[in-house]
């Protein structure tokens, strides 16, 4: 595997705890809930002012014990940095901090190298702090149907061309126009889809499936087989749609957008500016003519399995309009979902 060049367009979120500006003091805190500890790293970069390099900064734990300020003594008191701690630390941490600092002062910096000096301090989390327990399943999924509104739009991440527009007659942007002027159009209906592996999982969950395929009944006289027979009749269009099992598909209907854990399943007629490429591994291209006629960025999809003719699965590389969630969340969510799916298939679970 070769390592591709990083994309220049990647969005990076600067963490609160890390300062990238060319300052003399950089602070970084690592939160270790399992051992109820916070480790603080102080990096002092080499200063052009040699007087500063010889000075030792003061460490001050705030009254609330939720923040730490590191500052040089006068006349450099304007060189200082404050970090908000991920958790309230114990009162004992205050004394320990002072004691450790005195020891390190003797050492003159444990992590001394050509870039400057680095110190680290361990602090116990305050006993009164209740740490977050077990996480809600799928809490890492940034978008659910509940986050969407009737006028939510989806755009291409690259060119910002609109892929899924607000229904006709709705306000162009969500600037307060909530009870939109939609001329008779109710707007998009969003529905959540279960995990991508739900169909396969049905084999494990049910002794018999609610709507078996033809020929699957093999004479079993379960109480449900009557229902199954009814659903099987060709007049009932729900039989196909409702049927469980890998051979059956979820079908998108116009006006409804199904929200999967890493893609939106939409009816083709509802989409704008997309080009389908047949027999391609990456079958969906953005052809957003309205913004950039040459976009053609691939909304690459590895999830073409469950698709019906006429439905499009727009991966979350398509981006919700005016979305406060950065795209990096989507990438991480994609990975975590893929790991969870992989684990599910192997019958184990990883703490994510």
């Amino acid at each position: 595997m070769t390592v591709p060049q990083p994309l220049s367009t990647t969005q990076v979120d600067v963490q609160d705890s890390v300062q990238t500006a060319p300052q003399q003091i950089n602070l970084h805190a690592e939160y270790l809930p399992n051992i109820r500890q916070v480790t603080l790293y102080i990096s002092l970069s080499e200063s052009s002012d040699s007087r500063l390099s010889e000075l030792q900064p003061e460490i001050h734990l705030s009254e609330s014990r939720r923040a730490i300020t590191v500052a040089y003594p006068a006349p450099f008191e304007d060189v200082s940095e404050t970090i908000k701690l991920p958790s309230r630390v114990s009162e004992a941490a205050r004394a320990a901090l002072e004691k450790q600092m005195r020891v390190k002062r003797g050492d003159e910096g444990t992590g001394l190298d050509e870039h400057g000096r680095e110190f680290s301090f361990r602090m116990q989390i305050d006993a009164s702090e209740v740490l977050a327990g077990e996480e809600v399943v799928d809490a890492f999924v940034p978008w659910t149907a509940g986050d969407m509104s009737h006028t939510t739009k989806v755009r291409c991440r690259e060119c910002e061309g609109v892929i899924l527009n607000s229904p006709a007659g709705s306000p162009s942007d969500g600037n307060g126009g909530d009870d939109g002027t939609g001329a008779g159009t109710p707007g998009w209906i969003w529905k959540d889809l279960p995990s991508e592996n739900w169909a396969e999982m049905m084999d494990f969950w049910h002794c018999h499936k609610p709507d078996p395929h033809e020929g699957d009944l093999d004479g079993r006289d379960h109480a449900h087989s009557q229902d199954a027979n009814r659903a099987k009749t060709p007049e009932d269009p729900n039989a196909q749609v409702k049927g469980y099992g890998a051979a059956n598909r979820v079908v998108a209907t116009s006006g409804t957008v199904l929200v999967d854990v890493s893609s939106f399943l939409v009816s083709e007629v509802d989409c704008l500016g997309l080009k389908k490429v047949r027999f391609s591994r990456l079958p969906l291209l953005c052809s957003a003519w309205s913004f950039n006629p040459f976009c053609h960025s691939s909304l690459e999809s590895l999830i073409s399995d469950g698709q019906q003719e006429g439905d499009l699965a727009i991966p979350w590389l398509g981006h919700r309009y005016n979305c406060p969630r950065p795209t990096s969340f989507m990438n991480v969510s994609w990975i975590m979902n893929a790991i969870a799916d992989e684990a599910e298939q192997h019958g184990c679970s990883y703490p994510l």
Binding site: M1, T2, V3, P4, Q5, P6, L7, T10, V12, D13, Q15, V18, T20, N26, H28, E30, Y41, S43, G111, D113, H115, E118, S120, E135, V136, A139, F140, V141, P142, S298, E300, S301, L302, P315, L317, P324, R325, P326, T327, S328, F329, N331, V332, S333, W334, I335, M336, A338, I339, E342, A343, H346
Partner: protein
Amino acid sequence: MKVFFQYINDTANLLGSGSGTATPLSLEELEFPEKIFNAVVSTLEERNGMLPIRTRIFREWKVGILNRFERGRNEK
């Protein structure tokens, strides 16, 4: 979240997909869409450079940080 990562040139050998070798049980393989792979690698490298120097490498691993969405915490 803290992520340990390393670059492997010979994944086939690592995953034991050669004939006759057992697949290590502690390893899983995941295929990434190219865009997500590139974006994640560059984010990891960038974050690695932001960490204190002593914490950038842990044994044979490089250390990076990825922001994950947490319902309730990241929401406005």
